[in-house]
Each structure stands twice: as C-alpha cells, then as structure tokens.
C-alpha cells in the first residue's frame, strides 16, 4: 500500500512537472526571457500542491488515508501506553468472556455433526413429558428400523466405559456399541482402513472394531500398524480386531462422549437387552428417506409406536400397563447428535450469556469513558486540525480507525483468553468425568468475536468522537477548561457503577444459593468417606464373589485408619434413584395415590458409616442372609406417611410378591440430590437383593481423618486378598461425587463471582480514570477555591462527595437487581 502510494505520487509529480516545463520551454521559444517564462507558467499553472491534492481526491484516497490513519494511531497509542494497556485489557476481558460462553453455546447447540447431510439426520426416540429424548430398547429399535418407511436407514448405539485388554495390558476406554449400519447412516468416511459394515454385526466369536483418530494418536502414535491389532473386552469372550480409524473431526454422536473404540453391538448385548422391549438402553438415529420431512416421519412413527405399545402391554403385568401406555415417541432433529449436556446446561449458559453481555456493556462504558478523557486531552490537537482545514468526516474516520485498532488488539487478546476460559468452564462442567467438547474456534466463533469487538469499539468510540467534534475551533484553541464532557462522563461512570453493582449482586446471589445447598441437612455426612467399586478380572461365580465382598468389608472394618465400612446399591446424592410400587400392611392406598417408595440395598454397618442416626429397632447384620426372613429398614418419612406416630416395627411391606418385615427406623436422608425434597425410603439387605452382583454396588469406607482417597493403595491389596479375580475399578471421595449433582450451581457461583470480580476491576479502572480526568479538568476551579481559602481537606471532601454521590446513584439499580433471584430459572426442575 505504501509502495503503491509512493509511486502514484511520484508519477503524478513527474506528469505535472512535464507540463510545467513544456509551458516554460514554449514561452522561451516564443521569445520570452527564461525568468519571465517561468513566472508566467507558474501563474498559469496555479498551485502545484493544490492540483496534486485534487488529483488524489479524483483517484480516490480512502485506502491511502486509512494507511495514514493507521500509522498516526499507532504513533499516538504508543505515546499513551497506560491508556493502551487498560483499554486493550478491559476489551480482552469483555470479548474473551463473551467468546468463551458463545463458543460453548456453539459447541453445545449450534454445531452439527461432521457427517453427510446432517440436516437429514433424525433422532428416533421415546420422549418424556417435556419432549426431551429418552433411550429406546433394542426391540423397539428393530421394530422402527423395519417398519418406518419414511426413514431410509437407522442405527442404534449404546455408550459404555469398559475395560479392554490390548497387548496384555488393561485400560479403561470410552466405547460405543453400534449397529452395523452406523457409519452408513451417518455417512462418515475412514481416515485409515475401513469402518464397520452390516456384515460385522454378527454373533461371531471374533469381530471388527474401529478406533477414533484421537485414540489412534494417543495410544498408537498414528502408527498404521495399529490396524490389525486385537483386543478383548472384559466380561466378553470375543476377540476384536482393529480395522479402521474414524476421521479427526468425528467425535461420536453423543456430545461430550468421544468413543475411543467402536464395536458392533450384536455380541455386546445381554440376553435381557436383546429381548426385553422395555429395557431402554439405546440411542437411535435415522436418515430421512428422500423427499420425506421430519413431520411426516413423526406422524408415521406415532402410529407405529401405538401398535408396538399395544403388543408389548399385553405381555406386561396389569399394574405396569397404564404407565407404559402413556409413553410417547417422536422423530427429533438429529443434526447435532445426542446431547445430554445441552439439556443440563443450556439454561445456565443462557444466564451466563446475559452476565457476560453485561460485562461487555460495562467494558464499553469504561472504554467510552477512557476515550472521552483522551479526546478531552486531545481537544487542542483536534481544534488545530479542524482549523487547518481537516473535514469533520475525516476526523470521525480518524477516531474510527483508532477504534478499529483497539478492536483488533482487544479482540485477538480476547480470543486467546476465551480459549483458556472455555477450557476452564468445560473442566468445571465435566467435574471429574471425561467430557470431550470441542470449543476450538470455528468461523461462527471467529465472526462472533470480530463483530462484538468492533461493535464494542464503535459504540464506545462514537459518543466521545462526536462530542469532541462538537467543540468549536476557537474554544478548543483557547484551551478552555469548562468542557461539556462533564455530563457524559458522569453518566458513563454511573452506568459502569450500576452494571458492576448488578453483577456483584448477582454473584452474591449465586454464591448464596450454593452455600444454602451445602448447608442443607442431608441426613448423612459425605466428608471423609471414600467410595469405590469393584470389577472382575476373569471368571468369578456369583456365590464366590459375594463371599469375597463380605470378607473385604470385614477386613476393611478392621483396618487401622478406617472407622467403618459398608456398601450401598444406589449411592445417595449421586443423581440416581431407584423407586418401586409397594403395598403396606394396615394401610390402604386411595385411588390415584402415589404408591411408590424409594428403594436401596445396603450392607451391614451402612448407617454407622454414613452417620445417619438409627431411631428405632436395629440395623442389618450378618444374620440377614439371602435365605433368612426378608427384612427392611424404613426412614422417618416412610414411617410417618403410613403409620403416623405409631411404631412400624414388625409390620410387613410387600413389593413384587416379596414380603419384608420392618425391623428398624432411621432418620431421613437425601436421596437423588440435595435439591430434591426428602422421600420415603425403604432399605433392604444387600444379601437379599439377589439380582445384583457385588460389582454393582458402591463400597463406602469412612476414614479416621484427612483425605479418604489415601486409603486407595491399601484397598488394592485387600481386594486381591479377598479374591484374586477382583479388582479395584474406580475410587472417589464421596463429597466429590456429591458435588457432581450441583455442578450447575457450583459453576454459576464460580463464574458469577469471577465475572463480578472482573466487573469490579473494570469499574475501578473506570472510576479511577474518570475521576482523575475530572479533577484535572477542574484544576482551575480548585486553584480558585484554594486561593479563596479552601483547605486541602475541604477540596478532598469535595471530590469524595462527588464520587460517593455517583456511587449511590449506581447502587439503586443494584438494589432492584438484588430483588430478583437469577437461580429461579435454573431451578425450574
């Protein structure tokens, strides 16, 4: 650009000089003396510089001027590094926060699967009352696949985290069990080898498997030799051979769960999963037939599902039929794949988007204030430029160039910050789980960043720019100190204060919600308890396994450093619930009354381990074996709702033809998570729950103090001593598991506080900047006041009074904001 302009100007100069010289030469030829000839030529020619300018105008000078403005801006910004640092930093914070939240929303809601024609992909699914998707059974999948005419092809998949044995070493991987048509339906092409085909989905003893690009990279270093390697999956006898690799941009169809390995589902299904039409463990995707719309397919599906329900309902026990017949199914968009995270976090992200938008607004106000102060200090310069003939439009362009440079700098810095922000948020959301969520910026994120940084800068730059221009030439040159900036400056400052107050109040509310959740009486104490689960390595018959688990608990209970140890089927406040319909002796349910109670199976010493007080009767002990009389312990809510104040000891509860005698009453405790109200709960001994193996239970060990995770190494040894076929599967502190049920609240509190802090910092910078500027504007006035006898403290008071007045003005909207509870939206469940 520089070069072009230079040669352009030089050429113009040469062209004009030729004309001038020719004029002189012709005059001399006509007999005029050289000096006189030159004088005449100059007269005739007029101002050389003027013609040059006009030619430039004629050629169009926008680009030239832009380059000039850029250089000028760079020079002037370098002269005021303080302004540069503060404004770029606050822009980076604002833009970074917005970009981070937006890229999360983008990853969760906007980005479609990297497959062929994603808009033709549909989820074929049962739906809950809110229209949210639920899993389908293998039977239902097959039925839909074979009968839906408007769906050209369909696939089902199940996600798992199995242990696989590769080259003699075992490791836990994320896996997908899929139907043979999976990749055909999706339209995904391999980067190496081949993908699974319908022929792979058989009950053969050896089968093909596909690995992800990421797994290929981390486990095999992209070595082509990975193809042909074999592995086994624990609990299954099949041998799998790796035949291909999925492309790097493909991360599976379930958001947040990137399958390392994908194997055909056929041999992974249990007999129950294969045959039970109500065992819903699968997610189903289909491709619309050519010409079919989702609405048409949905209509067809509803009819088909009704027929399926009628057929299945006939085989179900009487009392299960009504609820089964109420189930609904639908064809939903499958463009974005399955998204368990979307449902969980979309509301939180929407609230956060609002929060960061406020942060950006704050940054705008702040930047505007800074620019205003800057414009005021440059008033003289502007007046001079106006006086020597610069157009107002030209000056506005100069201001906009400055904004553009700031936007570019702030935007790029913001983009970097956003990468870091969104990673931190994903980690919070995952909370110990493995969540692979690609937040890498794509064109959507990049354009979003560009647009908001530009918008912020133009918004921030426009008002001070126009304001500065309104100043007349003479007044500026006289360096008068009674600027009209005062009102705008004060307004901006109040705006900043109000916004930051709102944000800080919001942060306080989020934190208060969290504190409330933590201080809720849970009915047990999670601190100091280690939870772990077992897995088998090699065959371990049920009976032997149960004995080994009992032995393990016994030795744990005698281990120094362990207060008490037990096991439980469903770990409380881990998000799961197990509930069943019951009949209670001496109590008649009225029509339509809810007959369910929560269930849980526990090992002896459970209540001692979790520190739930026993109110009446006894806990389970080693005498409650599988062959002994069936017994149950109920909680207070259970006892109160069926027996009032009377003692329930000795009374019978029936569930699924099994009669349990109530032998004890315990205090109430939370079940699913801390946000749910207390529910009536019935506990049965784990020995009398024959459907489940010890590997299905969660083991608990209360340590004598400190971090319970330190028990883990000793555990390994104890487990092997109990049975050589048993292994430690997972360990975690119970409190950490419990935290997972309040991830949203923790995230909101953490991010809310963070953004509140950012808001405070930005606002402080703003207040400092604007107050300093206002004081400098009033130097004359202050000088006069002091000359008239005002004391130093008097002046300080004057300035402080003004600051406090503005602070109070800023507090008003904050008070209104404090009346709103932002968590209401999040607690809608």
């Amino acid at each position: 650009m520089w070069l072009r302009k230079r040669t352009g100007d030089a050429q113009l100069d040469r062209e004009l000089r030729y004309h001038f010289d020719s004029l002189v030469r012709d005059s001399i030829a006509a007999g005029v003396p050289p000096d006189e000839a030159r004088r005449r030529a100059r007269l005739e020619f007029g101002g050389l510089a003027q013609i040059t300018e006009e030619c430039r105008d004629a050629r169009g000078r926008w680009l030239d001027d832009f380059g000039r403005d850029l250089r000028y801006t760079a020079r002037s910004l370098r002269r005021s590094p303080g302004f540069l640092v503060v404004s770029v930093l606050s822009l980076a914070l604002g833009v970074g926060a917005n970009t981070a939240i937006f890229s999360l929303m983008n990853a969760l809601m906007l980005r479609s699967l990297p497959v062929r024609e994603p808009q033709r992909l549909v989820q074929i699914t049962r739906v809950d009352a809110h229209g949210k998707p639920l899993n389908v059974s293998w039977q239902l999948y097959q039925y839909f696949r074979d009968h839906l005419k408007l769906i050209s092809a369909a696939t089902a998949e199940q996600d798992a985290r199995p242990v696989i044995v590769v080259g003699g070493a075992d490791e836990v991987v994320s896996a997908a069990f899929v139907s043979g048509y999976h990749y055909r339906v999706l339209g995904v092409e391999p980067v190496a080898g081949r993908l699974l085909e319908p022929g792979d989905n058989t009950l053969a003893s050896s089968s093909a498997a596909v690995i992800s690009y990421g797994y290929w990279l981390h486990r095999f270093g992209l070595n082509p030799g990975a193809l042909g390697k074999t592995f086994t999956i624990e609990g299954h006898s099949n041998l799998f051979t790796i035949v291909g690799v999925t492309p790097p941009q493909y991360h599976g169809t379930v958001l947040g769960n990137d399958p390392d390995i994908t194997v055909p589902a056929a041999m992974m299904l249990s007999a129950d999963e294969r045959n039970d039409p109500t065992l819903n463990n699968f997610k189903m995707l289909g491709r619309l037939a050519p010409g079919a719309t989702r609405q048409q397919a949905n209509a067809e599906l509803e009819v088909l599902f009704r027929a399926f329900q009628q057929r299945v309902a006939a085989t179900l026990p009487e009392q299960d039929r009504p609820s089964y017949l109420q189930e609904r199914a639908a064809v939903l968009s499958g463009m974005n794949g399955f998204d368990p995270l979307r449902d969980r976090y979309s509301e939180a992200l929407a609230v956060l988007m609002g929060v960061v938008a406020l942060v950006l607004l704050l940054v705008c106000a702040n930047l505007s204030g800074l620019l205003l102060a800057r414009a005021a200090s440059r008033k003289r310069e502007i007046s001079i430029r106006l006086a020597i003939g610069a157009g107002r439009e030209r000056l506005v362009r100069q201001f906009l160039t400055e904004s553009f440079v700031l936007a570019a700098l702030g935007g790029s810095a913001g983009l970097l910050l956003a990468r870091w922000f969104s990673k931190a948020i994903v980690t919070t959301m995952a909370n110990g789980d493995v969540v692979t969520l690609s937040t890498a910026p794509d064109w959507r994120v990049l354009s979003f960043t560009a647009v908001i940084s530009l918008l912020a800068c133009v918004l921030a730059g426009l008002a001070p720019g126009l304001h500065a221009l309104r100043a007349s030439v003479e007044r500026g040159l006289r360096q008068s100190r009674s600027g009209g900036h005062q009102r705008l400056g004060r307004f901006l400052l109040i705006a900043q204060l109000s916004i930051s107050m709102v944000l800080v109040t919001g942060a306080a509310l989020f934190s208060a919600t969290l504190v409330k959740l933590y201080s809720v009486d849970r009915g047990f104490r999670t601190q100091g308890v280690l939870t772990f689960s077992l897995r088998t390595s090699g065959p371990c018959p049920s009976e032997r396994c149960r004995t080994a688990a009992a032995t393990l608990l016994d030795s744990l209970n005698h281990l120094p450093g362990v207060v008490s140890a037990s096991a439980v089927d469903v770990l409380p406040i881990s998000g799961s619930l197990w509930a069943r319909d019951i009949e209670v002796e001496g109590y008649t349910f009225s029509a339509g009354e809810n007959q369910t109670a929560a269930f849980n199976a526990i090992a002896p010493k459970y209540f001692a381990t979790v520190e739930t007080p026993l109110l009446r009767g006894r806990e389970f002990d080693s005498h409650d074996t599988s062959t002994a009389r069936k017994v149950a312990v109920v909680n207070e809510s259970f006892a109160r709702s069926f027996f009032g104040a009377a003692s329930p000891l000795g009374l019978m509860v029936t569930c699924r033809q099994l009669r349990y005698e109530i032998v004890g009453v315990v205090a109430d405790a939370k079940y699913t998570d801390v946000k749910q109200p207390l529910i009536r709960t019935m506990y049965i001994p784990w020995t009398q729950r024959t459907e489940e193996e010890p590997t299905d239970f969660n083991f608990l060990a209360r340590a004598t103090g400190g971090d319970p995770v330190r028990l883990a190494p000793t555990l390994e040894k104890l487990i092997r001593e109990a049975d050589p076929a048993l292994r430690l599967s997972t360990t975690a502190a119970w409190s950490a598991v419990a935290d997972r049920t309040i991830v949203t609240e923790r995230m909101m509190a953490a991010l809310g506080s963070f953004f509140g802090l950012v808001a405070l910092i930005v606002a402080c910078l703003g207040i400092f900047g604007v107050m300093a500027f206002r004081v400098s504007r009033r130097v004359n006035e202050i000088g006069v006041r002091m000359a008239l006898g005002a004391s130093r403290t008097g002046i300080a008071k004057l300035v402080l009074r003004e600051a406090v007045a503005m602070l109070l003005a800023g507090c008003l909207p904050a008070r209104r904001a404090a009346g709103v509870d932002p968590m209401t939206a999040l607690r809608s469940e």
Partner: protein, 98 residues
Amino acid sequence: MLVLKIVALEPIHGYGIAQRIRQISEDVLQVQQGSLYPALHRLEKRGWLRGEWGEAETGREAKFYSLTKAGRKQLEDESANWDRLSYAVTAIMRTVQE
C-alpha cells in the same frame, strides 16, 4: 467530452491536450491546468482513459493518455447527446430571432 474527443484522435499527454484544445477552439476555450489533471485522473479511474508512459517529442518521458473501449462508447453517447442538445438550442435561438 472535449478531453475524450481529443484523446480519441491519438495517444497524447496532458500538456498536448491543453495546447490542442486552445488551438482547435482558436483560443476561445482555455482549459485550466487546475482542473485538467484532476479530470484526467478521474477519467482514468472510471476506465475511460488509459495512461501509459512514453517518450514525448522533446525526448523526455511523458504520460500519454489513450481512449479505452468504454471511453469510446462514452464519447459516442456524449456526442450524440451534445448533437441533440445543440440542435435544440440552435432551433430555439432561431425561433426567438424570427
């Protein structure tokens, strides 16, 4: 239009254009250099003229302007317009005199 017409005869430099206009119009029309060059550059930017550096009759380098295709078409349009206009003006003047 005048500039285009003169350039249409042969490639010519700015000084030449000024001289030519003065000669042909027998000193009735004098083009100000102050407006000639901006006009030339504007025409060049619009794509009606093309500027090329070449050797002038004096042996010095000068920028010669020639007509482009678009310029030729523009010239035709403008002369047609001018013909119509001057015919109309002449006709009116004649009527008024009678």
